[in-house]
Subunit: 339 residues, 2 copies
């Protein structure tokens, strides 16, 4: 175990006071370049690392960012963590992950943790981005937070999102451009705001193309494989079936794919299938899934940035929220409509 070296050691080594060392460490202004260099040399020579507990006890920063999630998709969760960490590390911040169980008492889970760890900020992932109890607890404790892809109440706090409506629109257009006229749609989990926006994009594209949206072509799903599977069974059950199905996320699209395989439908010759998210699973099927790449890591990184910069909404000023770009990923599961 290497001996613990403190700021005092650095101060002695470089011949200044500990306060000056602290200044250099925190990139405060008004330190002579010469002094700064000496301190930095000492830091490097001693391999000194400031103790985070002491910093957060004495100062106002905790160097800790929380990530709350209650998301069934592990790929999504991991991507958020990866994206956030990448940014945090540069600034010496660390990530505390806290799974929240929405089915249990949320207040009991959130309140104690907020009080013990005074985190500098929290990243909320859907569906927690819209959870009233979580938002209220955060606000009560005065902990800044950024919501990823929230569903509504957009002025309440800063957020990072992508244009789900446009993405839904473009995917639908992609299908229409391939000659599809009879397209089925599976709506996502109603608690996720993105679900409604994707659905709206579908509606907009169909309307614009003058195509009818039959009631029996739209099913409610829950973002799970099973719900996609069941929706597909209904959609493909009769002899009169759509030539394409657009599912609001990949897991559900995979469910559709499973039904298609089971019915021995040729994808995409007889049925085109489109997903959304570009999770790892999208490539784990044959044919690979046409989908929308969500910039999950980028969104999480942006959220972490906003938190570290101490996002504080000035009264009346708009939150510095950001809309990131998505990308249509066309693979093999979509093709020309059968004639």
């Amino acid at each position: 175990m290497s001996a613990k070296i403190t700021i005092h050691d650095v101060a002695r080594e470089s011949g200044v006071s500990i306060k000056t060392v602290s200044r250099v460490l925190n990139r405060e202004p008004n330190v002579k370049a010469d002094t700064r260099d000496r301190v930095q040399a000492a830091v490097a020579a001693l391999n000194y690392r400031p103790n985070i507990s002491a910093r957060s006890l004495a100062g106002s920063k905790a160097y800790l960012i929380g990530v709350f999630f209650d998301n069934p998709s592990p790929g999504y969760v991991t991507d958020v963590q990866l994206g956030a960490i990448a940014r945090c590390r540069q600034e010496g911040y660390h990530l505390i992950v806290e799974p929240i169980d929405s089915t249990a008492d949320v207040e009991d889970q959130v309140a104690p943790m907020l009080a013990t760890l005074r985190m500098d900020g929290v990243i909320l992932t859907p569906p927690l981005s819209d959870h009233p109890v979580v938002l209220a607890a955060l606000e009560r404790e005065g902990v800044p937070y950024v919501r990823i892809a929230p569903g509504g109440d957009m002025d309440r706090a800063p957020w990072v999102s992508m244009d789900d409506r446009l993405a839904g629109y473009e995917m639908t257009r992609h299908l229409i451009d391939l000659g599809h006229k009879d397209i089925g749609f599976i709506i996502g989990h109603p608690d996720h705001g993105a679900s409604h926006r994707r659905h709206q994009g579908f509606i907009d594209a169909m309307r614009e193309a003058g195509l009818a949206i039959r009631d029996d072509r739209v099913e409610q799903g829950w973002f799970s494989f099973r719900s996609g599977f069941e929706a597909a069974e209904k959609l493909l059950g009769g002899s009169d079936r759509p030539t394409a199905i657009f599912a609001s996320n990949d897991d559900m699209a995979l469910g559709v794919m499973a039904v298609a395989n089971r019915m021995r439908l040729d994808v995409p010759a007889q049925l085109s299938i489109a997903g959304f998210d570009d999770t790892p699973g999208a490539r784990i099927t044959w044919p690979q899934l046409t989908t929308v790449r969500q910039p999950i890591q980028a969104m999480a990184g942006a959220a972490a940035d906003m938190l570290m910069q101490g996002v504080e909404r000035e009264a009346g000023a708009p939150p510095p929220s950001r809309l990131l770009d998505f990308e249509l990923v066309v693979r093999e599961s979509t093709g020309r409509a059968p004639s």
Copy 2:
């Protein structure tokens, strides 16, 4: 923002000194039951939560457990986190997740984090469980750690694992019992110790049944969908093909499934496919995958427990390592061998 209440407030409220409050909080002995109750009442009344930074600065515990991972499987990572958190929460500990990029300088990633955050312990997931640089850094800094499913050097530190060899053996037996005699095997990532053990189980079962293991029936994989896909192409390429394929993890088994679908092979009538891990993906195919359920959450929970109990190996004493139970999950992807 609720006013910050400290240990002093509790002490005043309950009419004792702060030290006594501290004793109650830390469940130290030698406090009269009556006093303890008074203090606890005050804690509850004031809704007091000890500040974790102050605790770790003053004391020896940091109330922080790290989880290091560099695992391509998001399902695995999330399960580990969930399992560890469940235990940590009860004890007031929190989880710091740190993805490690093995392709970059590992020392640079690990050393600074160990110095700034003095974590009470670290949970290592494969393949990091066997990473020499990580282990060395942890030991140098005197941070206790528990390895999940390490590959070798078992006496070096405590670990939690499952009997991969036995699981590999039992899955192979399952196939043999279904009448399969010509079984293909895809080995896992060579950096993961579990890969070798699963392979050994396969060999043992085949030998025991007096079945030949043909060289061209065993392929090296990397635990990824793609590597499973490629291995399956080789295995199923000729006219002479095995009646079953046992892949060392689910992702690779899904790759095999994709090849089978593409070749229009009927699973399991013409080809049985077995996986390993029971990741969410195992249910995301049709037919669903026969696989081995790894007690990932339980292993992570046990690891967290060991860390929190301050696992310290006494000189000469065996580490309190634990082997947990697995479960064979038979679904639809395996069936009787074609006659």
